[in-house]
Symmetry: C2
Subunit: 188 residues, 2 copies
Amino acid sequence: MNDPHPWAVGLDSLRDQVWQRLRRGVADRHDPARHPVLATVTPGGMPQARTVVLRGADPAAGVLEVHTDLMSGKVADLRANPLVALHVWDAGAHLQTRIEARAAILTGDAVAQVWARVPDPSRQSYGSQPPPGTPIDDALAYAKRPDAACFAVLRLTVLAIDAVHLGPQHRRARYTRETGWQGQWLAP
Amino acid sequence: MNDPHPWAVGLDSLRDQVWQRLRRGVADRHDPARHPVLATVTPGGMPQARTVVLRGADPAAGVLEVHTDLMSGKVADLRANPLVALHVWDAGAHLQTRIEARAAILTGDAVAQVWARVPDPSRQSYGSQPPPGTPIDDALAYAKRPDAACFAVLRLTVLAIDAVHLGPQHRRARYTRETGWQGQWLAP
């Protein structure tokens, strides 16, 4: 059968494709990898999943980056449990990417240079009052007040990648940091 | 400002819209709610997120339904921690739906009538050998062997819904089973 995605047949080319598409997500706001779903776990053990914007992808280091309001629920989750999952479904590539990572929460001086490059409209996302998730009497009883002190970078150190390609035959592979990303086929 | 989604301005109409779209996902395989992301937590505390197919949505009971291979990783996760998150991003409606639920794993006689209605091609998804996630030497070293004994229904009792509408002004509301789904606006 003709498979339009020859990169899916090899472990190395599949892994390279995953990273290429993550980088494309950072560069192109219309790419599917621009808006992954980030899952965290609350202190009570409830998983939480929400859309985030992918801001950085470094294949060599195996690191991804997401920005967030420091007062958001996801930061509270990460303070109790730094483990996260990231999910991207790329319909054009028939590719599901599932990432396991450990998050570090960077703030203040450590991210001042990043904040300096955040354009004004995007700054609206950091520092709303009252903080995200606060109960309010009216739907619009909040204000956006850009505040560098509320800006946080989540640096996600990737621990494992699980990639599933839905082709004429499905293929699934797992890559882990501890095995040097060499890859292992899994039954889909 | 003209908002094309007047349902987003009221707590009741927003909640009804969420359920309407979940039902549409069950009925229409091209709807965004057809393929939510389901997040679980492994026994080691790692969140896991993957695409699933939404098979049932009952607004009156507040119950959703997903089918899975009983040997899949998500079932192993759920045996240790039955709490799940479900995430749908509906680009047309500018609506993010985040659901917290408790999963029950139904198998065997309890789902025999459901299995009887699963069409042949879909049955391929239940009973692959070796089981999903097993390391294999070659990418295609697996076989699909439909097996009723590997078919499980995840009945998801919804505990809370968090809905975010990205309109001219963003609106966010939370609904919980314990408050009778009456809804509470939150700062987005």
